[in-house]
Amino acid sequence: MKYKSQQIAYWFFGLSMLLLTLQIVYGFIMGFAHMGFDTLHEVIPFNTARAVHTNLLVVWLLSGFMGAAYYIIPEEAEYELVNVKLAYIQLISLALVGVVAIIGYHFNYWEGRKFLEIPRPLDWLVVINVLTFLGLILMTLYKGKKRTTTSLVLTMGLVFAALLYLPGMIWFDNQTTDSFFRWWVVHLWVEGVWELIMGGILAYLLIKITGVDREVIEKWLYIIVGLTFISGILGTGHHYYYIGTPRYWLIIGGIFSAMEPLAFLGMALFAIAMYRKGEKKHPNKIALNWTLGTAIVSFVGAGLLGLAHTLPGVNLYTHGTLVTAMHGHLAFWGAYGMIVFAFISYAMPNLTGRKLFDTTNGQFAFWLSNIGMLGMTVAFGVAGVAQVYMERIMGMEFGIVQKEIQVHFFVLVCCATMFATGVILYIYEFIKYGKPNIEALEA
């Protein structure tokens, strides 16, 4: 840590870990419901559990990204964050909006639009919150001494993410139009601007951990984010196959979305190449594990498992089945969950001055969570493929098929337990680091 104001990052990471824990609890509720044990139905029906699960996911990831930005930007710009007090207010208001939304979901206060369940009045609070955050980041960059490519790509990702939230707030009477713009948020986030955020954070980590020359790393960063947008923007078409939009999206969406894995492949090759080129002297092996891990697992979860159902002929059958859930889990975890974990692992020793890296717990956290998540992906995948064959190809009734595939949710819950154990170990390590410490400031 070189700047005092970087300490704020810690609290965003703390919030992030707290919300992740809650997300997992609601994940188990749904896992059991799919198994036939919908015991909490009267209090937490499935749609409540689901809205809480996915929204907490988005908020813990955003909180992680914000923390990372508050850490990275002062250091890259060589300037203290312009207003630390405002950043704390932003943190608290983010937590409040999140909590109010989650409580609302238990009392039928929501808008049933997948991933955008936050009701519109609360959306405005989100907007104000994000504007405050962006204001702080942009002012710091503006006043700072340096504007590096890494910090610009990261900031660009954050600014565009905020802009793209807006089309999702408009009301349409026509379900097709509604859906059309919902994808401007959901798809253009995860397969567009969030990749910029991920790329920016990844580049920063690689510069710090491998010691490879910044110019080399940043050149590759441009190529990767270039590939992201060139494929990902028109790749939105893979959500426009079957929602009442014209047929040409089958061709455009098919071709461009099939190229999307290139950006993730680029990221994986890039991380591995920089690691091999680098000095391998950095002592923080856990952060290195997560950094290489995120680059590789995102390629598998988003790239390969995305490719698996992105062609129109396949998607006609898998669209809206558990196959989608299989891909959704490994993609979100590999690309965005793990990059947040990588950054926290890197930042904690620097924030606190305690060098707890390379512990057994830390290693176990990495392997248990990842193997657990891979197992969950397989369980969802087997259930999903079985569902597609029985329901969509054989024409069996939905409810009968669900009974047939219940057993795969037992496997899912077992693997989820392993995953959760890994996450708990990670959070245990996080807590052991303690709070940030002024003495950790580097001269």
Partner: protein, 146 residues
Amino acid sequence: MLSKSQARTFFLGGTILTFVVFLGLSWHSLSQEVPKQTNPEKLTSQVIHGKELWESNNCMGCHSVFGEGAYYAPELTKVVERRGDAYIKAALMSKQSWAPRGRKMVAYGFSEQDANDLLEFFKWVGNVDLNGFPAKPTYQSTINTK
């Protein structure tokens, strides 16, 4: 090898180009084609109210339409065709959890009027031209699920 500034040009150029094409196609889809495929003239106040109910109760948190939503309860795009009006209204108006196969739906107990509006919404949804989704099952004729 590519220089850093060439890499930047690739990024900016590619982004702007594809984004402009995307905006053009989106405009074309929404202004020219979507009206043909979705029968907007049939969006009566009943259908719109049905959509409001669909959203305010987060039905999409268990079900899907157009294949979008959750995977806990049946796809409803063609539900009217599959079940008919009476069945759907019974499920919506039931004061006890509807659970034909053991898996429970929330007991909404909608009024007759609200149930009718939701039904109108499903009818509108069922008539949208979805480019062939949901596909007709290949073997339905050989398996009798009734």
